[in-house]
């Protein structure tokens, strides 16, 4: 099973490669990718450096051009696809049917991976992208149980990549407009969710308040850890009760599932977090490399080491991890 790691900048990419990532995925410094955050992603010079470093170390480089272009700015997505192809990247990760069509016609030799933003959760949807655009792999949304992943992998016309670790979208990726409903900017169109520019922190007698476009997402007492106000992870009122009505701040961690995912035939496991620091990328990659290697060399005796868990828990949102939808009870 291939280990695919995130890089929001060149130091993160180098850290991923040094720690044993088989592939690294990056985005360009604009809204053509789903982590369009200030100061993040690769400008021309960084991208050139990334390509050179990847080649030198004989790993794979994937480029995410996985947001949905609007007509007036379509040319920017076209250029991003051309730029990835001109650099001979190992795969383009895309979701928009127009972008996939353009890439498959103009750059037939460039491998296409269906982005998680494509929201394809079953064989018939995957067949659409495989038949029309010749995708070589698809990243599954984090909504399926392990049994469902198995079923999809068995019936899919293309190999499957799944998320192994990182921040958890509680909604089916590509099918969530909550952010644009509150802030005007969405993952699909703008490559952001709960954008930083809409965040406002304030402290008063009632505690520390985290707001998004002035909407109160959560309020913390002095003894509570405060997290980034991703709007699906706030505490709200339903029926008079205050709780994490959609989801707690928690991260996906599937180290325990390495044997099952391997047995199912999942081709690659993806680490989330292009917006995270090089230190995060370095530590997560190191743990996952060790786990995958341990499983490969002795599958029967594979156990998740406490030390791996501790490292990953320390890097998780709210220091909590979950098996997410892979575990049936969560669904």
């Amino acid at each position: 099973m291939q280990l695919v790691c995130p890089a929001g900048n060149l130091p993160a990419l180098k850290a991923a490669v040094r720690q044993g990532a088989d592939a690294v995925y990056v985005g360009f410094r604009d809204d053509t990718n789903a982590r369009h955050f200030a100061g993040l992603n690769m400008d021309d010079k960084q991208f050139d450096g990334a390509v050179a470093f990847i080649r030198q170390h004989q790993r794979k480089l994937y480029v995410a051009v996985n947001t949905y272009p609007q007509p007036k700015i379509w040319a920017r997505w076209q250029r991003a696809v051309d730029r990835a192809a001109d650099h001979g990247v190992d795969a383009l990760i895309a979701a928009d049917p127009g972008v996939l069509d353009y890439a498959s016609r103009h750059h037939p030799h460039m491998a296409l991976h269906l982005s998680v933003q494509g929201s394809a959760t079953h064989a018939a949807a995957l067949k659409f992208y495989a038949e029309r655009y010749g995708i070589r792999r698809a990243v599954l949304p984090r909504v399926l149980s392990l049994a469902q992943v198995k079923q999809v992998a068995a019936s899919s016309p293309v190999p499957i990549e799944v998320f192994g670790f990182g921040s958890l979208c509680i909604m089916a990726e590509g099918r969530c407009h909550l952010s644009s409903y509150i802030t005007g900017e969405s993952p699909n169109l703008c490559g952001v969710c709960s954008p930083a520019k809409a965040v406002r922190w304030s402290e008063d007698a009632e505690g520390l308040s985290a707001r998004l476009s002035e909407v109160l997402i959560d309020r913390y007492t002095p003894d509570e850890p405060a997290g980034y106000p991703t709007l699906c992870k706030g505490r709200f009122l339903v029926d008079g009760k205050r709780f994490h009505a959609l989801e707690e701040p928690t991260s996906l961690d599937t180290l325990d599932l390495v044997p099952e995912l391997t047995a199912i035939g999942v081709e690659a496991v993806k680490i989330e977090g292009r917006q995270r620091s090089p230190a995060y990328v370095e530590q997560v990659t190191r743990v996952w490399r060790a786990a995958l290697d341990a499983h490969r060399s002795a599958p029967a005796s594979f156990v998740v080491k406490d030390q791996w868990r501790q490292v990953l828990a320390g890097l998780s949102e709210g220091s909590q991890t979950t098996l997410g939808a892979y575990h049936r009870s969560w669904q």
């Binding site: 949905y68 007036k72 049917p97 079953h122 909504v143 509680i170 909550l178 109160l216 669904q331």
Partner: protein
């Protein structure tokens, strides 16, 4: 301008559903969408019963009847149901998932592209138009300007335009999840949900800790708290190229809603302003209410 009645997004029992459609049958609706689009566990009607309802409606209403497909397909059994729905042999299908699109292409059937398909530009639209899409319901976050741009791009690409249907009234369907938020709010596991969303015929209200209305929980679907209402924006709907306006069912008051939209399309004056949100239509955050300058 045609008026369509969207699929019922909430879980209503048989009696409620029967009463609702018998009320709707006598109204000036041009299209009625039937079917379960949110949760496969809901069992008000089987596919055969939906088809039976469609035949009853056809007998007493001139409206075109369309079957809407489930939006988030997770289990193999759901995919089998989707196949049966596409094989219904009678009714046009609204595809709410690329899998439904694929199945309809394989059957060489025309289809409606529902609001849950991510189609945001002319190039993407052309992909589905060439595959048989005859009507496009843009994602609910699309603005008037974006929709006009997409249609212009389709024209530039030399394709005839599909019919365009705008989500003009109702709680906006915003997100879909593996989890059930209604069950979560009742502290029940999803696999023992007891169909609790049937107790909330207009969904469950979610507010901020300050009491600001934010969302409506409807099983695995998260909707807007406010009802979107584009009736005051009628002239903009016409000029942007809308052919149909979708009115999304609510538990109460839909007869009046259909009549109000019908009056305006018959030439009546649109109201200067209405309750509810219309931010998306004006290119802003969806929850906002944008008034035309000087009208209110």
């Amino acid at each position: 301008m045609k008026l369509s009645l969207g699929p019922v997004l909430f879980y209503w029992d048989k009696e409620h559903m029967g009463r609702f459609y018998s009320d709707m049958a006598g109204l000036p609706l041009d299209v009625i969408y039937l079917g379960e689009t949110v949760c496969s566990k809901r069992r008000t009607f089987s596919l055969d019963q939906w088809l039976g309802l469609a035949r009853e409606l056809k007998a007493c209403s001139p409206a075109q009847i369309v079957l809407s497909s489930l939006t988030l397909i997770e289990a193999g059994s759901e995919l089998s149901s989707l196949r049966r729905l596409c094989d219904n042999g009678e009714l046009l299908v609204e595809a709410n998932d690329m899998g439904a699109v694929q199945l309809l292409i394989e059957r060489k059937l025309p289809f409606v592209g529902g609001p849950a398909l991510n189609l945001y530009n002319g190039h993407a639209l052309v992909q589905l138009l060439d595959a048989g899409m005859v009507r496009w319901v843009p994602p609910v976050e699309c603005s008037r300007g974006l929709i006009a741009d997409v249609l212009e791009q389709v024209r530039e690409l030399g394709r005839p335009l599909p019919e365009v249907e705008i989500f003009a009234y109702g709680h906006l369907p915003l997100a879909y999840s593996a989890r059930c938020f209604t069950a979560r709010a009742e502290n029940r596991p999803k696999d023992d949900c007891q169909f609790c969303c049937i107790n909330y015929p207009d969904g469950m209200a979610l507010t901020s800790q300050e009491g600001q209305a934010l969302f409506t929980l409807n099983g695995i679907q998260t909707m807007s708290a406010d009802v979107t209402n584009l009736l005051a924006d009628y002239s903009g709907l016409v000029s942007c190229g809308a052919d149909l306006l979708r009115l999304s069912p609510r538990a109460e008051g839909m007869v009046e809603v259909v009549k109000a939209f019908d009056q305006v399309r018959q030439g009546g004056m649109p109201p200067l302003c209405v309750d509810g949100c219309n931010g998306y239509w004006h290119g802003q955050a969806g929850m906002l209410r944008v008034e035309e300058v000087g009208l209110c």
